[in-house]
Amino acid sequence: MLTPASRALIGRRLLQVVPVVVLATFVVFGLIKLLPGDVAVTLAGENATEQRIAEIRHLYGLDRSFLVQYAGWVWNALHGDLSRSLLSGEPVADAIIRCFPTTLLIVALALLLSLAAGIPLGMAAATKPGTWLDSLIMGFASLGVAVPNFWLAMILVATFALAYTIFPATGSVPFSVNPVDAIRHATLPAAALAAGGVAEVARQLRSSLVEVLSSQHVRTLHAKGLAPGSILWKHGLRNVSVNLLTVAGLLANRLLAATVVVEAVFAIPGMGNLIVRAAIHRDFPVVQGVVFAMVVVVIATNLLVDLLASLLDPRIGHR
């Protein structure tokens, strides 16, 4: 299935990812340098004894040079050790593994909703540009981009959890325990997130589809008498599929970040909960760990999108 050219492309892309990951670890580790004053004193928290401060200094290798500290952190991270939480003592990697599936389910559901609603809306607007339908859809899209998604989440809770108890207002259930209940808990957060996603997909799809549909080769298709429906499905969508894939990838990354805030509305114990609590209490190993984990997911998503794009459009690898 893979041609030598696309195999070479995959190899090239994997190699390009390496410096990005290295730089990302540098940024994540460098976060600790933003802490004002003596890092060990800050990390030890208020009323810490001298002994505790010395312990922390040694534990995090703060008595060594920055590069040595950095190398140590990367070495441990490569072995799956992201240090321990200062608050609970739990290994950071364990906390991330515990919280990530909850967040992932919400992101996946939100992405699905965004595409399921955004694609038809974008197509409808693009096939009738300049009409009232187009204006209506694009008007709603503008609202969707500007609405604070956690506010929308509150309104959804007020409506669907408090006024009509259709969905639960708070918490989450692991997908592995009870898939149906897990999805029920994830539906409202995902719907709140999807508002922006639907708007984004509809806007982007409309603009690229309008461009394709007004191009010379589509005019030729009309001239030779092809039905508008099959022009749209066979030629229009195929030409914008790579665009759509890119939009979906960017959207997945943005949803991942946005979940952090929406989770707080529903008191969902996901990645957002983890990093917000850690940031408030200056539990720095956890902050670094979560930021790092999210960057890795984003970089992996981008890589996946690039590879899928080269499969969809064989020209990409040869440019």
Partner: protein
């Protein structure tokens, strides 16, 4: 990307844009809405009916009434008053974040684009890496490091958004660098700093102005998010995000209190976005108006 005619002063790049915006109905409405909100926030002490911290203990979580047009919060504070005062905190936050992003991103992007070669390669790689960080998550991390508070939170947001502006300015600078008037200035022996300031910046700045409008909307939403999470503004100062956090705690008792701050954020963000889109359409003749 449109080709912009050579312009030698910054003012001449901005003024015609503003004049053309005045003729665009959507842009004009957005500007009017923003001016009203900015005006209200500046005149808050004179136009707000109460003090933002005055408590009316007999009227807690009250519904809209003649005394309190938008009702009161859980401490009996007037919602309309806090909405007006909150505007200044939220707008200050948005402008601060974008100023930080501009101060960091524009010089770095211009330097990378003008220097070219390995310097450009290194800076571009760093920019690309920064762009793969989920913005709000990194902002939360940076805020955690700098310390909780509105100013720190928005500096964090600014740092996180800087790469977006840097990338944009770099791309424009690459184009402008090739222009004849830059060559001419170089031939006349103009110092690089002068060329960057007088020739490159004015011609690379237009897409930045568009992006600034869009970033203001995103920063406003970021302020609301961070303050809602408790990382931004601290009580008793009002901001729209902090008001939402309080209203949410009491949503079962007074659900209508959730609407004023949320709508304020929505309308302001919508105005910034519409303004940005209008400017983009104006600057780029290839975009077709929806």
């Amino acid at each position: 990307m449109s080709v912009v005619a050579p312009i030698s002063s910054r003012r001449r790049a901005v003024l015609p844009l503003l004049r053309r915006l005045g003729r665009d109905r959507r842009a004009a409405v957005s500007i009017a809405v923003l001016l009203i909100i900015i005006g209200a926030s500046l005149l808050a002490p004179w136009i707000a009916p109460y003090s933002p911290t005055a408590q009316d203990i007999n009227n807690m979580l009250s519904a809209p009434s003649e005394a309190h047009w938008l009702g009161t919060d859980d401490l009996g504070r007037d919602t309309l008053t806090r909405l007006i005062y909150g505007a200044s905190a939220s707008l200050y936050a948005a402008f601060l974040a974008v100023a930080v992003a501009g101060a960091l991103g524009v010089p770095v992007g211009m330097f990378a684009g003008y220097a070219g070669g390995w310097i450009d390669d290194v800076i571009s790689r760093v920019i690309d890496t920064m762009l793969s960080f989920p913005a709000i998550v990194l902002a939360i991390g940076v805020t955690g490091a700098l310390g909780i508070g509105l100013t720190n939170a928005m500096i964090a947001v600014g740092i996180v958004f800087a790469p977006q502006l840097a990338r944009l300015v770099r791309a424009r600078t690459l184009v402008v660098r090739q222009e004849l008037y830059v060559d001419a200035a170089r031939c006349f022996g103009a110092p690089t700093a002068h060329i960057l300031r007088r020739h490159v910046l004015p011609n690379a700045i237009q897409p930045v102005i568009v992006q600034v409008a869009l970033l203001l909307a995103v920063s406003l939403l970021a302020e609301a998010s961070l303050s809602f999470l408790g990382l931004g503004i601290q009580p008793p100062s009002p901001s729209w995000g902090a008001m939402l956090a309080r209203a949410y705690l009491n949503m079962e008792l007074a659900p209508e209190q959730v609407y004023p701050p949320g709508l304020a954020i929505l309308i302001t963000a919508l105005a910034f976005n519409t303004l940005g889109e209008s400017m983009r359409t104006m600057l780029d003749p290839t975009i077709k108006r929806p």
